[in-house]
Amino acid sequence: MSALASGGFWAFVGVVAGIYTIFALGLQVQFGFAGLLNFGQVAFMAIGAYTMAILVVKEGWSTWLAAPLGVVAAAAAGLLLGVPALRLRADYFAIVTIAFSEIVRYVATNEDSLTGGSQGTIALGKVGVAAQYNGQWERFQARVQGWLGVSSKDVAMLVIVWIVATILLALVWLAVRTPWGRVLRAIREDEDAAASLGKNVPAYKLQVLALGSGLAGIAGLFYAWQFSFFSPDDFAPLLTFFAWMIVILGGLGRIWAVPVGAGVFGFLFAGTRFLDFRPLSYLSGADRAYVRLIVIGLVIIGLVLLRPQGILGKRDEMVLE
């Protein structure tokens, strides 16, 4: 159990939770406020991360220019998907978005010259270049580390991720309190009623899709920086399901429930690495990874069955139907 007591472990849980907070926040706006069933969220994370990595490593751009462009690319992809897909019924939309995320992953796996292929970003540039992108992020992280006076890189990352996450949470919290946010909730409750009051429902849905995609793009940037390399397999549909679990675990329609859900998820995800007590210690490391996902699957099923409003959800405003 010593690993659970070490600060490094908790910093890692915190970083994972922070990245997933930003990632799942987009889903919360899309589903918790506008009722959209986006099951392809991971695609936009991938697009953000890949756009940044490709521009920095292959095109030699500055990180501070490439990163915002990655977010813009993710949001633009959300619009591109939304224009045709939003015409579909909700259940078709859900399936089409999963398919979109798989198509993005197929392209990333197979277009070696663009993305580095199945080897991932390690194959993007010369050896040593890909590892560090161009060093700008590492220097920034080191400066934050020095400024905070902490010994671990992870703690610096933890602080950066959570500052960004808190700002984004606050902005979204403010946004859903405006008339714009009220229209979203009206669309969630009754699309036809909102339309009959002269609200341009497809435009609102597109805006929410682009907003959520952009947030996923930001999460993708941090994912890329935290793990140095990534490959298409890091963006499997599983990540989208994790984000859904976070949103429902925390509570639907409540912005500040997202970090709570992400914290529980981060602990489940990273903490179950340490399931090394008997009888689980008889299992090999790979087998314990399977057990970890079984636990997460059971949590999803258990939530749906037993507590559809999540930990912090308001039962009278929104319950999972």
């Binding site: 015409r87 019924r89 089409v96 198509i103 197979n110 999803i300 749906v304 069955l305 999972l320």
Partner: protein, 294 residues
């Protein structure tokens, strides 16, 4: 080359079509988009492998046992998971998310039980049948024959038998069917059995066609199956059959070199969704679906 690809497409399409009927029937009756269906297929394929490989039973007997096991699994899960959700009058979202959780659990349990290494059935992979310019492996021939038999049997079952007709009635209008005296919970049980049997046979056929498979292979099959279900109009069994065959043929023919140089074969699943996207632009309710106000 064209005929070879068409034959390959028929093989791929048959497997997709059988699975798509299983998904579509369950959707029609329970309004459940079963995301775990790919893992049901993997379950059927691996249980069949257990009887066929380690226990040394013939492939036909093993397949039947694998299908029965998948049907039993479906019934057990209905009692443990889906019935409580129905009792709560849960909506689309709950069902879909629960099936995602179930897919996760099922796949990891299969990985724990069978490990990630590829498996293959005890059949002769080198026996080849030549018909004109088309060469088919034994597995492909078996797939076409089994699929054709299954499709005909399914068509007769749905159109002629009482159970099949009540299933379609229920899919069409649940309240009306219940008023007409149909025992809804019995039909639901029959539907799970049928969808489980179909998942089992589709899994085995997919395993035969691919020659090797592992616990993850169900999920890779799932997206073309979903595309076929939507293409045919979700909930419509005949539409799912037609959608599956059409997509299978489209996926294989897209690699034909005379067709704009041919698509890279790795993008076959993308082709399935390209076709689907094009079709939905014209008919948002699917080829055989009815436009209705929900």
């Amino acid at each position: 080359m064209f005929w070879q690809l068409l034959a390959n497409g028929l093989v791929t399409g048959s497997v997709i079509a059988i699975a798509a009927v299983g998904v579509s029937l369950i959707y029609g009756i329970l309004r459940l988009v079963n995301f775990a269906y790919g893992d049901f297929m993997a379950f059927g394929a691996l249980v069949t492998y257990s009887f066929n490989g380690p226990l040394g039973l013939g492939i036909v007997v093993s397949t039947v046992l694998g299908m029965v096991a998948t049907a039993i699994l479906s019934l057990v899960l209905d009692a443990a998971l889906w019935r409580p959700l129905r009792a709560r009058r849960a909506g689309f979202m709950s069902f879909f998310l629960a099936s995602i959780g179930l897919a996760l659990v099922l796949r990891q349990v299969l990985l724990l039980a069978y490990g990630p290494q590829p498996r293959e059935y005890d059949v002769n992979p080198f026996k080849v049948y030549v018909i004109g310019s088309v060469r088919l492996s034994q597995a492909q021939v078996i797939t076409i024959i089994v699929a054709a038999a299954a499709i005909v049997a399914l068509g007769i079952f749905l159109s002629r038998s009482t159970v099949g007709r009540t299933m379609r009635a229920l899919a069409d209008d649940r309240a009306l069917a219940a008023i007409a005296g149909i025992d809804v919970s019995r039909v639901i049980a029959y539907t799970w059995i049928l969808s489980g049997l179909l998942a089992g046979v589709a899994g085995v056929l997919a395993g035969l066609v691919q020659t090797t498979f592992d616990p993850n292979f169900g999920f890779q099959l799932l997206l073309p199956v979903f595309a076929a279900v939507i293409l045919g109009g979700i909930g419509n069994a005949y539409g799912a059959l037609a959608g599956g065959l059409a997509l299978g043929i489209a996926m294989e023919l897209s690699t034909w070199s005379s067709f704009f140089g041919g698509v890279n074969p790795v993008y076959k699943p993308v082709v399935a969704f390209g076709v689907l996207a094009a079709a939905l632009m014209v008919r948002p309710q699917g080829l055989f679906g009815r436009a209705r106000v929900v």
